[in-house]
Each structure stands twice: as structure tokens, then as C-alpha cells.
């Protein structure tokens, strides 16, 4: 049972890490992140990089949808804006890739603010449809602004370069993506210890009440869109350095749904939830491959026969989580924590 954790100050009470146990787990996580590239093979390292990109984007969407209550199906489009910006800068300027990523995030944030303007008048499903509309407009721009976006074929991107070394392997890219994503996640966690973050939560809980309390709704809603889109833009920039090509068909509405599903499965309004959701959505389809592989010796032509079942199993897993654990994966973690907090006095 956890005892002796009474806090003497508000600062201590609001700290991100409040107990030694949390400190220890954070240490384990940090050690795992540092050790991962040395123990993972190319395949798992690829997935690790993909998870990092998805965590960054899902965290951004969680700020908007989970914390501010503004449903968006435009996350992939904002990622595309970041990806195209980074691709264009990398091809046409000699700027360092970190600056390109920041600018990618900046341009995406600007676009996100524009898209967020309707959020003052509409919310819920209506806002979701408005963001789909914005995605369609952006797709049209990507397809037809050929001189900048490369049209239907898109843009090929040279590898990112750091101190004269081209970052081409997953090992190298991991060492760039991991710190960026960690900083973004810590930034998001800290955001909700500030006035801005609390304003977002107030808007989510009841926007009219938040307005009555003196929170300028338009400013904070647009700010939420901007921050969320900035995260998406940076994630899109990492995405394009990872895949080295972007086209109008790279990041689609299906990817926006993927990120929305990730934060729902993980747990909306929870930093841990976005992380767990992104990990779940990225890795479970891959893990299910091993089920197909395990069945291969026993089922003739397992590859083509069982692949549809794998897709169905993934969909069913998401549905089961929604039905049986609507608070998301983060709630499971909380339940486990509560169990140990109260152990051995609660069975």
C-alpha cells in the first residue's frame, strides 16, 4: 500500500512524477528507450520508429480531441501539410532537418488554425465533418499545386543529414525520432499543468461555462487546433524523413480515423492513453501476423486464407476494447496502479 505521499506544496502536487515508484518506472522506460536500438532487429526497429511517429501525432490529436473536446478527422491532412513542407524545404533549401521539422509543424499549425475557425460555431460530429471537408480541400491542393507538391506523383525526399551523416538506416532515424517524440510527449504533459491546458479542459467539460468563467473560446479553441496541428506537422515531417516520399495518397482519411481510433482505444484525455493507443494500433496488426505465421505449418496456403481473419481479428479487438474498456488502455494501467496502491488490503 502506498503511504507517506502527502504533498506539502501545490508545486509538488502538480509534479509530473510524484512518487518514487513513478520515478523508477520512468527510469525503466528511459533505459528501455535507450537500449531498444541495440537489441531490436531491423523489422522491430522499423516498427519502433513508426510507433514514435504515431505517438507524436496521436498525442497532438489527444490535445485537441481528448483534452479540448474538439473532434477532428483532419489529423492525417495536417500531417501531410507538415510532410509536404519538410519535403519541399529539404529539396529546395539547405536548411538543417530539425529546422525543417519545426517549420513543417509551424505551417501545419497555421493551416490548423484556419481549419479550426468553424469550431467556434460547430462541434461534435459537425466539426468532424468540417475537418473532413478541410482534408478534401488540402488533398485537392496536394494533387493540383504541381509546382510545389509534385502533383499526383508527389515528392521524393533526400535523407535527413546530421553533422554530415545521412540518416538512412532505422537505427539512425530512431535516435532522431525518439528524443523528438519524448520532448513532444513531455511538452503535452506539461501543457496541462498550465493555464492554457486547464482552459482546454474547461472548454471540453462545458464550453459555455468556460466562456462564462472568462476563457476566450475562439482564442483557446484555435490555440488547441494550432498546437495539435503543430504536433501533426512535426509527426508528418518525421514521417517523410522516414518513408522519403510523400504523395496525395500517402496520408489519407483512413489514417485520420486510425489516429482517432488510437486515442479512443488508448484513452481520451490521457497522455498515457495516446501513447498506449498508438502502440496498440501500430503493433497489434503486426503481432497478429505471428498468429498467421504460427498457423502456416498446419494450414495449406495460410497466407492468403488467414489474412482476412487477421484483419477481422484486429477490428474485433478494437470493438471489444470499446465495449469492455470504454475508458481505454490507460484505465487498465490505472486499475493496475490502484491494485498495488491498496495491496494487500483490497482483493
Amino acid at each position: 500500500m502506498r503511504i507517506a505521499t502527502a504533498k506539502q506544496t501545490y508545486l509538488a502536487d502538480e509534479a509530473l512524477i510524484r512518487t518514487r515508484t513513478q520515478m523508477a518506472w520512468c527510469g525503466v522506460l528511459a533505459a528501455s528507450l535507450l537500449a531498444a536500438p541495440f537489441v531490436l532487429d531491423s523489422y522491430w526497429l522499423y516498427l519502433a520508429c513508426l510507433v514514435l511517429i504515431n505517438v507524436a501525432s496521436a498525442t497532438g490529436l489527444n490535445i485537441l480531441t481528448g483534452y479540448t473536446g474538439l473532434v477532428s478527422l483532419g489529423q492525417a491532412a495536417f500531417m501531410s501539410v507538415g510532410a509536404y513542407t519538410v519535403a519541399w524545404l529539404e529539396r529546395n533549401t539547405g536548411m538543417p532537418f530539425l529546422l525543417n521539422l519545426l517549420l513543417g509543424g509551424g505551417v501545419a499549425a497555421a493551416v490548423g488554425m484556419l481549419v479550426g475557425i468553424p469550431s467556434l460555431r460547430v462541434k461534435g460530429l459537425y466539426l468532424a465533418i468540417a475537418t473532413i471537408g478541410a482534408s478534401i480541400i488540402l488533398h485537392f491542393v496536394f494533387l493540383n499545386w504541381t509546382s510545389v507538391t509534385g502533383g499526383a506523383r508527389g515528392l521524393q525526399v533526400p535523407p535527413a543529414s546530421l553533422f554530415g551523416t545521412q540518416l538512412t538506416t532505422y537505427f539512425q532515424l530512431y535516435w532522431v525520432f525518439m528524443p523528438i517524440t519524448v520532448v513532444m510527449v513531455i511538452g503535452a504533459a506539461n501543457l496541462f499543468r498550465t493555464r492554457i491546458g486547464r482552459a482546454f479542459i474547461a472548454i471540453r467539460d462545458r464550453d459555455i461555462s468556460a466562456g462564462v468563467l472568462g476563457i476566450p473560446l475562439l482564442r483557446y479553441k484555435l490555440m488547441s487546433f494550432a498546437i495539435s496541428s503543430f504536433y501533426a506537422g512535426v509527426a508528418g515531417g518525421m514521417w517523410v524523413y522516414f518513408f522519403r516520399v510523400v504523395s496525395p495518397e500517402s496520408l489519407t482519411l483512413a489514417d485520420s480515423i486510425f489516429f482517432l481510433a488510437a486515442i479512443i482505444v488508448g484513452g481520451m484525455g490521457s497522455i498515457l492513453g495516446a501513447i498506449l493507443g498508438a502502440i496498440f494500433m501500430t503493433l497489434v496488426p503486426e503481432v497478429l501476423r505471428y498468429a498467421v505465421e504460427a498457423a502456416s505449418p498446419y494450414v495449406a496456403d495460410a497466407g492468403s486464407l488467414l489474412s482476412p481473419i487477421r484483419t477481422i481479428a484486429f477490428g474485433a479487438l478494437i470493438m471489444l476494447f470499446l465495449v469492455f474498456e470504454p475508458q481505454g488502455l490507460a484505465e487498465i494501467v490505472q486499475r493496475i496502479r490502484r491494485f498495488f496502491h491498496l495491496w494487500p488490503f483490497k482483493k
Binding site: L50, R153, T169, Y290, A294, S304, I332
Partner: protein, 393 residues
């Protein structure tokens, strides 16, 4: 009580997922030739992926029954991508990590071919082909370790245009393309080629992806009054709607398509309205019983039911990949991307067993050969209406 049940269920779910995540051990692939594959067995391109997988598998089975490649057995290992690029790349990484001697690979899309290209160049040990006939892949400088088992999309339209120029010099043409990477692929080179051949492109229609109502586009077609209407970027829909409405308006235009809209089984369900639809096909159809096509006879013996054109693409692809591997081994070369590609490019006047009706040569990244077929609703078959057309380099 219900809480316990819920937790138990979640624990069961989690453990079952984890149980399947047994570590994959790098496998010892002793002295065998492996073809890896990121295959679109589910998703929007599953209709092609399943057929292609069957084609590759049958050819691999056939060549193994004949003793493999210089005594080395051939193995085809693949996994489903759902036609998603990130999954296709994941599978590429998974298979190439598990099997160190994969030197031949089949990809699931243009996007994958393009995305994996920098990695192919960096690794240098793999030659790749895919479901894609995209024109941009037909560039030996930028896609040096890739090839297309047929003409690219621009070459397909060029073959159609050559046929038209011969059949009706100075004909009026309308291009109808879907609004996407696939659909827009051949527009520019095809327009230029039409001009070179003295044909007049009187209209260019772009339809939104997934368009069903095409009445506006049909009106444009009526205004243009073309002799030929060439579709690209579709499988089936909205072609039947186009043809039906155009005929109701009394248009005499001939409708044509490219590879993915040329499988005869997709037109069977359309019925009479499909009659007369034409297009380019680089391979002979399953049911072609020409005397100089013994390989098709073997396919029919292996599979008595009709096999779609995707199957033939997969079969021929496996044939060309293994032929390249054989030539590289015969020359005492190491199997890697450059040597395999050089071996593939050494193919001159190669007999495909009648799958392609003329001997083929692969000087670059594609095989610019095709034939014009026309669908007969009464025979429920595609029937040839031209000889084989080989494009000049």
C-alpha cells in the same frame, strides 16, 4: 462479479495477443532461392493480390518440380499488406530480417515501389517488381533495381494509340482518367504520343475517385463526339455506366481500357453492355488455346477454372525473376540487385511459353509489348483484334 469477468476477458485478450508474438528466429535458408512478397491479399486490391499470389506460387511449384534453379529449390514467402504502404514496408523489413538471402521481391503497389526504392538502393541486394505498371518506375536510372513485367501505363496507352492510328488515321480521341496517381499516370506522355501519331485529342475528362454518377461526363463526351474513348485508372466502375449512357445517347465511340480493366471475368457480370469493350493486354488470356502457348495449357492443367489476368502477371513475374536468378548463377555472379537486373536485361527474344505471343527482350525496366482485345458478350471472352504490338524504344 461482472468486473471480474471483464478483467478476465481483457487478460485473456492481452495474453492471446502476446502468445502469438513469439519471437521470430532468423531462419536458416540453406541453399535456396527465396522470393519475398508484400502481397495485397486484403483491402481494395485484394482481387489482384490473391490472383497474383496464386500465379507466383504455381510457377514456383512448377519450377521446383523441374529441379529448381540449378538444383536450388525456390521458395515464395509473403504476407498480407492490406494494400497499405506502412504495412508493406514492415513486411519487407520483417522478411528480409528473418531470411537473409532474399534477393527477389514482389511489392504491393506503386507507393510501395516508390517508398522502398531508397532502401533498395542502399541495400543493393534485392531486385524488385510489383503489381504496379506505373510509368515512373520505368526509369532504369532512378529505379535501377526494379522492373515491370509488362508495358508501363503510358506504353499501354501508346499501344492503343498505335492500333487506332493504323485502324483510323486522324481519329478523334477522348481520354477519361480517374483523379489520382493511378489515373493521371499516362496523361501527358499519351497526349504527346497521340499528337505524334496524327491523332486528335478532343477532350480530357477527369472523374473524381469512386465516381458513380457520370452523366455530366457523358454529356462532355457527346459534345466531343470522339471515335475512341480511352479509360485509365479504373477497374470496372464507372465504365459500364459510361458505356450504357453513351449508347443511349447514340454515341458511336469505341471504348478502350488498360490492364486492370481488361480481365474478362469482371465484364461477364456487366452482360450485353460490355460487348465491344476493347483494350490492351500484354498477356494471353487463360482460355487462349493457341498452338504456340504450351505454358497456358500447363496452367489449365494445374487450375481447370478460369484464372484472371493478375494470375498471369504473377506467373510471368515469377518466370522472369527465376530466369534472372538462373542467368546470374550461370555466370557465376553473386545474387544481388545489380547482377539480377543485369541478368534480366540480358534477356533477348525470350520465349515465355506463349504467355506473351512474341519473344520478349527486356532492355530497360519494362516489356513494351501488348495486343488489343475486344470483349464478346456472347462468347463471354476477350478476343484478339490485333497482332502483337511491340513499341520501339
Amino acid at each position: 462479479m461482472s468486473g471480474i469477468t471483464r478483467r478476465m476477458l481483457m487478460a485473456l485478450l492481452a495474453s492471446s495477443v502476446l502468445a502469438t508474438a513469439a519471437p521470430a528466429f532468423a531462419q536458416q535458408d540453406v541453399d535456396e532461392i527465396i522470393i519475398g512478397g508484400s502481397m495485397p491479399l486484403t483491402g481494395v486490391f485484394a482481387f489482384a493480390g490473391v490472383a497474383i499470389e496464386a500465379g507466383i506460387r504455381d510457377y514456383v511449384k512448377m519450377i521446383n518440380e523441374e529441379g529448381g534453379i540449378n538444383g536450388k529449390p525456390v521458395r515464395f514467402i509473403y504476407e498480407d499488406t492490406g494494400h497499405q504502404i506502412d504495412q508493406a514496408v514492415a513486411i519487407f523489413n520483417k522478411l528480409t530480417t528473418q531470411h537473409r538471402n532474399i534477393h527477389l521481391y514482389y511489392g504491393d503497389s506503386t507507393g510501395f515501389s516508390r517508398t522502398i526504392n531508397p532502401e533498395l538502393e542502399r541495400r543493393g541486394d534485392i531486385m524488385l517488381t510489383s503489381v504496379s505498371f506505373a510509368s515512373e518506375i520505368n526509369n532504369p536510372e532512378t529505379f535501377s533495381n526494379q522492373f515491370i513485367a509488362g508495358p508501363d501505363y503510358s506504353q499501354m496507352v501508346s499501344i492503343l494509340l498505335e492500333h487506332i492510328a493504323k485502324e483510323k488515321p486522324g481519329a478523334r480521341i477522348v481520354f477519361v482518367n480517374s483523379d489520382g496517381e493511378f489515373g493521371r499516370d499516362p496523361i501527358e506522355p499519351s497526349t504527346a504520343r497521340a499528337k505524334e501519331l496524327g491523332l486528335e485529342v478532343v477532350e480530357q475528362i477527369i472523374t473524381p475517385p469512386g465516381a458513380v454518377d457520370v452523366s455530366t461526363e457523358v454529356l462532355k463526351l457527346r459534345r466531343a463526339r470522339p471515335d475512341y474513348t480511352i479509360f485509365h485508372g479504373y477497374i470496372l466502375s464507372p465504365l459500364p455506366e459510361f458505356m450504357t449512357q453513351a449508347r443511349q445517347l447514340g454515341l458511336e465511340t469505341k471504348f478502350m481500357g488498360t490492364f486492370w480493366s481488361m480481365d474478362s471475368s469482371i465484364w461477364e457480370d456487366v452482360g450485353e453492355h460490355a460487348d465491344g469493350f476493347m483494350g490492351v493486354m500484354p498477356y494471353r488470356y487463360y482460355y487462349d488455346d493457341a498452338a504456340d502457348a504450351p505454358m497456358l495449357e500447363r496452367i489449365r492443367q494445374m487450375r481447370p477454372q478460369y484464372q484472371p489476368t493478375g494470375y498471369t502477371q504473377g506467373f510471368l513475374t515469377a518466370m522472369l525473376m527465376t530466369e534472372a536468378a538462373k542467368r546470374a548463377l550461370d555466370a557465376g555472379k553473386e545474387l544481388n540487385g545489380a547482377n539480377l537486373k543485369a541478368a534480366l536485361n540480358s534477356i533477348q527474344d525470350f520465349d515465355t511459353g506463349g504467355i506473351i505471343g512474341v519473344p520478349i527482350s527486356i532492355s530497360g525496366n519494362s516489356i513494351p509489348v501488348g495486343r488489343i482485345y475486344q470483349y464478346s458478350a456472347s462468347a463471354r471472352r476477350m478476343e484478339p483484334v490485333s497482332d502483337w504490338i511491340s513499341l520501339k524504344d
